[in-house]
Subunit: 148 residues, 2 copies
């Protein structure tokens, strides 16, 4: 007799839930900066590498340019970044952090870290959790590759 397929047994569903919970989780530490979770992740990438193209961010964040273009415009409007055509290659748009974007790195990271600490992961637990998730990604990527 085949086992019944239930919602809660689906790993995709549990990953979705974790994703939703993270979105909610980040609301509190980011509220005072008027940032969403995805906008924070974008800034995180820019704090690592500034002055990059939309395409670079798209690869790094795993988001399409159809998602990024409006998102970056909102970040620009809020004063965190600038968007400028590359003078040497006018197809490209270069994204740079503004002084505001640079100055707020530490306060934002502190606010987020304060919340992350409340998750109470010790180093081993955290490493194990990351390994499990990365391993899942690899399995999914391998399978997705085969589709092409």
């Amino acid at each position: 007799m085949p086992k019944e397929v239930t919602l809660n047994d689906q790993i995709c569903f549990q990953i979705s839930r974790a994703h939703q919970l993270f979105n909610k989780f980040y609301q509190e530490p980011l509220e005072k900066f008027n940032l969403t979770y995805v906008q924070y992740i974008t800034l995180l990438s820019l704090w690592e590498n500034d002055g990059v193209t939309v395409n670079y961010l798209s690869q790094k964040l795993g988001l399409s340019n159809g998602t990024l273009t409006p998102l970056l415009k909102r970040l620009e409007k809020a004063g965190w970044i600038t968007r400028n055509r590359d003078k040497t290659d006018e197809r490209r748009v270069l994204i740079h952090l503004t002084q505001l974007g640079k100055d707020n790195k530490e306060p934002i990271l502190e606010s987020v870290q304060g919340c992350l600490n409340r998750l109470n992961y010790n180093d081993d637990e955290f490493a194990d959790a990351m390994d499990t998730i990365i391993d899942l990604q690899h399995r999914l990527e391998k399978t997705n590759e085969n589709d092409k």
Copy 2:
């Protein structure tokens, strides 16, 4: 000297990636049924419990009614479900599977299972991965609770 905060070290980011990859992963098995991943998850819940309210689905799926109402209307339009006001309590909308929705349970599950098998999880690995994700959810939920 404090460690640098990088994108790839963020567990939230890795969860997001896994979520995105799952969305892509489900495209292939669901394409022939013209279903999205979230629509599939909704049907999965209805195959467990049919004739439920929007509110019930909202709780079960962890989605707001602002998300579910248009999603259910699309499922209705495609012929998978019906939406009817409860005669005994006209505030409620009861969601029922159509014959099409019932008849396609097995074909859809088979199509999905065929892809899931390609993830190559054995029972122990799968159980461990699920435990890790559920544990993460609990940590996030506990923290989110404190915010209220």
